[in-house]
């Protein structure tokens, strides 16, 4: 009997170094937050990829990120962003805060089909000698309004990351059709 390779068997391919860990698609009624728990210790870095919109009655929503269920004021953030109006803005955001706060994803005053997007990188998550640092590229566009933003965040804790919670910092729900995908990146 011929022995099929993994690829030839068409079932699973080779193991990669950028791996899908889990994905949440928000259903009817929305969710207050999305938590990825029991993240394996085999990854060095994480990436969260978001298509999202909150129920905040505003054009802008801030992405809130917490680690290991820590809801204390142990987080800090900075951002630079532009709303298309000519000038750019930069600020320290919500320091100290109960979450990393990354500007700006879509709030509910945007049209029904307009969602924001974000790609968030969380680096060196197993290192217990460093505070955890995050970077995000986030924004939305609504044909005449919008935001394009770069954000950074700090969790003042040296613990390895075992869980990540993503929530709207101002609104109370992520709306239906939002999607959150968590990926793990291995080291050599």
């Amino acid at each position: 009997m011929p022995i099929l390779g993994i690829i030839a068997s068409s079932i699973f391919g080779d193991v990669g170094d950028f791996e899908s860990i889990a994905t949440v698609s928000v259903g009817s009624g929305g969710v207050s937050s999305v938590s990825f728990t029991s993240i394996p210790g085999t990854y060095s870095h994480l990436q969260i990829r978001i298509l999202g919109k909150s129920n905040r009655a505003d054009a802008n929503e801030t992405i809130g990120i917490q680690f290991n269920s820590d809801t204390g004021n142990n987080y800090g953030s900075h951002g630079i962003w532009g709303d298309g109006g000519g000038s750019a803005s930069a600020a320290q955001l919500n320091y100290p805060a109960s979450a990393i706060t990354l500007p700006w994803i879509a709030g509910d005053s945007n049209g029904g089909s307009v969602f924001g997007v974000s790609v968030i990188d969380i680096l060196d998550i197993q290192n217990t000698n460093k505070y955890t640092t995050v970077r995000g590229l986030t924004g939305y566009d609504n044909n005449g309004s919008g935001q394009s933003a770069l954000g950074s965040g700090l969790w003042s804790n040296t613990a390895a990351i075992t869980s990540v919670t993503v929530k709207p910092f101002n609104g109370t729900l992520w709306k239906q059709y939002s999607q959150f995908a968590l990926y793990g990146i291995r080291s050599a």
Binding site: S32, G82, G86, S87, F115, D141, Q147, A149, Y183
Partner: protein, 188 residues
């Protein structure tokens, strides 16, 4: 309601995980071209990523790069818009484009730029296959002579994307040596 996902990697279930971040197609220009188009894109991924290393044949100055997408055919209508955050090394600014025929980013180096200089641009198209939301693009681009930029673009259409086109400025082609790769990212 909160969505909590406890992660049990396939790796721990004695199955081999598939490759998550897959190259779909790469085009390397051996002669100049007005654009590069990827068609027939599989809907089996969660996100698309386009990596652009491009240079223009324009002799006088750098030119904008452009993105168009479509389903079945490339949409050339005025169905795009964008919000941009731009730094020149001297100042940061923001600009907007409304109801335009393509999403622009700054910039692609001119043919008069130092030999070997190409833009470094990464375009994320999150949840490209859903048929509920408009499609939003995240574009991070560096033009090595003048610009660093983050752009958020919108295609006002809920159709799934199965075609992606990268264009140079209409007055000049993409130069020899331009390399564009389309990747697909799968979700758990």
């Amino acid at each position: 309601m909160e969505a909590i996902l406890t992660i049990r990697p396939l790796r721990n279930t004695e199955r081999i995980m598939p490759i998550t971040y897959e190259p779909i197609a790469t085009t390397t220009l051996g002669s100049t071209a007005a654009d590069i188009t990827f068609t027939g894109i599989s809907q089996s991924y969660t996100d698309l990523v386009v990596v652009v290393s491009a240079r223009s044949t324009n002799a006088s100055a750098e030119v904008a790069g452009f993105l168009r997408v479509g389903n079945g055919s490339i949409d050339t209508g005025s169905n795009y818009s964008s919000t941009r955050l731009l730094g020149t090394g001297a100042a940061a600014s923001s600009a907007r484009a409304t109801s335009v025929t393509r999403v622009a980013w700054d910039a692609i180096p001119a043919n008069t730029s130092a030999s070997g200089t190409f833009c470094a641009t990464i375009i994320s198209i999150n949840n490209y296959s859903n048929t509920t939301t408009y499609k939003t693009f995240l574009i991070r681009s560096n033009e090595p002579n003048n610009y660093v930029e983050a752009t958020v673009g919108l295609w006002r259409n809920t159709a799934a994307i199965n075609q992606v086109r990268i264009l140079g400025d209409g007055a000049a082609d993409l130069a020899i040596g331009t390399v564009i790769t389309l990747y697909g990212i799968k979700a758990a």
